[in-house]
Symmetry: C2
């Protein structure tokens, strides 16, 4: 199989991620923070080490890393915990349904109102598009680091600075870039970063996290046992326990630590450089193929995630993906859970075919893909 | 290690659970229901097979099995999705914080009010305790199948029948019994059953589910991408997608299928019989030890989960657990995230030491425990 659906989840996982999972199931599958016996304490230490690794990559404090089941849960915690009745929220015109459906639900419940700021290739215009919607009751800006469909990146640091000029909270959805493009709480000024563990961080599926700045106050989405302050009817006041009710996914979290080790060993810049070279190779090849359509400029480092969206004239994106699947090439077609992005790029009728290389994708894989595409 | 903390999470996991996890990471870690390529379709089929296995055990339809990260998330979805402003809720006097903190939060938000019905060993009295709190605006009864601290079981079928006589919804928290004591949607009349995968069902940590009856309408707790109806601002109307936003924990879910296979092969009755024999052996041994205190009658089949709570006079539960840990015996001390249960059994000052055998616990393990206890 030639796997170009790493935007959904990365495959394969690095060998050390598989090894760490098995080790976790055998040696660290004890309820951390609840038991006083050696194995429980060791499991808790192992989980804390992963908090340190994640916080190192996203420049915040370990205790401000909250483990979730996926990026979607992290975004739900972050967004719902940040608003109050009457809040105004701004999101981008390319947001994933994990943001759009959340703010739509909050609006339907009569809690918030929201506006949608258009993406622009010109950072000045993009920032100004967000600024134009800021009003007195704006409490929150939520923006992805890069589009999960078209790859284009947002000027996160400038948007965070804009938000802070108006005392507005800024949440970055780093679903498609965490692990390949640097973004951090302290380094870039985001108040909260949400990310999956199983995409560019190479952990098991079932993993994600919310990283937050110090002193960020959030209401809780889920309540339950935390192994602490057990006699209280309320969640503890401090992260991570405040947001981690119930038993954690130890093996998933430990695999995330192994994924981060893998990235740190290879070098995030090297991985990104490799994937972007392949992305440009794919882009150029598609551009030169007959009857193809691309939607955004050639991906440049720093301005895009390694994601290519295209269509073939006269064919549905699904039929192109099905033809590729018949040649054992795995890509995803359709809407990619991103109605807004398709509305913005006028691909609501067709969806798009999406290609996402990973560190394990080779030039040869991309050549096979392009040769196959030409014969469709 | 002698592991008697299976009430926190079961250890070890059966060999087939470990094998299935590794197989899942290698062969089924693709985004199910999102891709059209063979591997994605196969992953989706594998996930569906687990829905069938879970629904077989809990007597409902496969599409009404919603996979969650733990039992706590399932309870949050079920409880919050069931109430509206002005609802009245009844919970038991032994509920875990995963229920108590949820209803306390809803009360604090001004959405619901709730009452606490006392447990009783006499089923007639117990049912009548719940009935006495039912009023016109009672929309929900939430009750555990058995106490996670003291093991005593509730008459779930009768409580479900009571609820339905008053057109009230009934949610069963099967955290400590799912996999050892039968409970089902169609067989017992519960509207919703919530359970963890990683306790008596022997799956990885990071797993849980909500099983529900047909036509149960629930609001959503988490919104996001579902791989379906992507152009809609709302979650799909039907389970499981409605409640499964974001990427699923494929390897965790597949390990749950392996755990259920393991139980079905051994026979749930045989496993329960084994664990209850050990529970009674532990109970009798503790009862005969000097300076010990037990809180509930000797556990009888059908009236209790295989859980023993005790204390030693003049020692904190934590110090007893620490002494046992020094002998490589793993038990849990303290409150077990269950303030209500400690209030009911008057153990708020001390907490308790809790013992939970599993299918892998041997008579010899229990003998070593009892011999060690006598020397403390």
């Amino acid at each position: 199989m030639i796997y170009l659906d790493n935007g959904a989840t990365s495959y394969p996982k690095p060998a050390q991620v598989l090894r760490s999972t098995v080790e976790a199931l055998k040696n660290f599958s004890f309820n951390s923070g609840r038991g006083g016996y050696r194995q429980s304490v060791k499991a808790a230490e192992k989980i804390y080490q992963v908090r340190e690794k994640v916080s190192g990559m996203f420049s915040c404090e370990p205790q401000n890393i909250v483990f979730t089941k996926n990026c979607t849960e992290a975004l739900n915690i972050a967004i719902k915990g940040s608003v109050k009745k009457g809040s105004h929220v701004i999101i981008s015109s390319l947001e994933h349904n994990a943001v759009w459906r959340v703010v739509s639900k909050l609006k339907e419940q009569g809690i918030i109102d929201f506006d949608i700021a258009d993406f622009d290739y010109d950072d000045d215009v993009c920032v100004s598009n967000f600024e134009s919607f800021i009003r007195e009751n704006t409490d929150l800006i939520v923006c992805m680091t890069a589009s999960n469909v078209f790859g284009v990146a947002f000027p996160v640091r400038r948007l965070a600075a804009l938000a802070h000029r108006y005392s507005v909270r800024f949440i970055a959805d780093a679903a498609q870039t965490a692990g390949i493009m640097p973004v951090g709480i302290e380094s870039d000024g985001a108040d909260i970063i949400c990310a999956p563990g199983h995409k560019c961080l190479y952990a098991q599926m079932g993993t994600g996290f919310m990283a937050s700045a110090k002193n960020i106050k959030l209401d809780t989405l889920i309540q339950g046992g935390t192994g602490s302050a057990s006699l209280s009817a309320s969640q503890p006041s401090e992260p991570p326990e405040r947001f981690e009710a119930g038993t954690l996914n130890n093996s998933g979290i430990i695999s995330l630590g192994a994924g981060i080790d893998f990235i740190n060993n290879r070098g995030m810049e090297n991985i990104y450089g490799h994937e972007m070279r392949l992305a440009r190779f794919l882009y150029d090849g598609i551009n030169q193929s007959p009857n193809t359509r691309l939607y955004v400029p050639r991906p440049e480092n720093g301005k895009s995630a390694p994601i290519i969206a295209f269509n073939m004239d006269g064919k549905s994106s699904e039929s192109v993906a099905a033809s590729l699947a018949a040649h054992d090439i795995a890509v995803r077609a359709g809407y990619h859970c991103s109605a807004l992005a398709h509305s913005f790029f006028k691909t609501l009728d067709t969806g798009v075919v999406r290609l996402c290389p990973s560190v394990f994708t080779t030039q040869r894989d991309c050549e096979v893909f392009l040769n196959t595409l030409k014969k469709l």
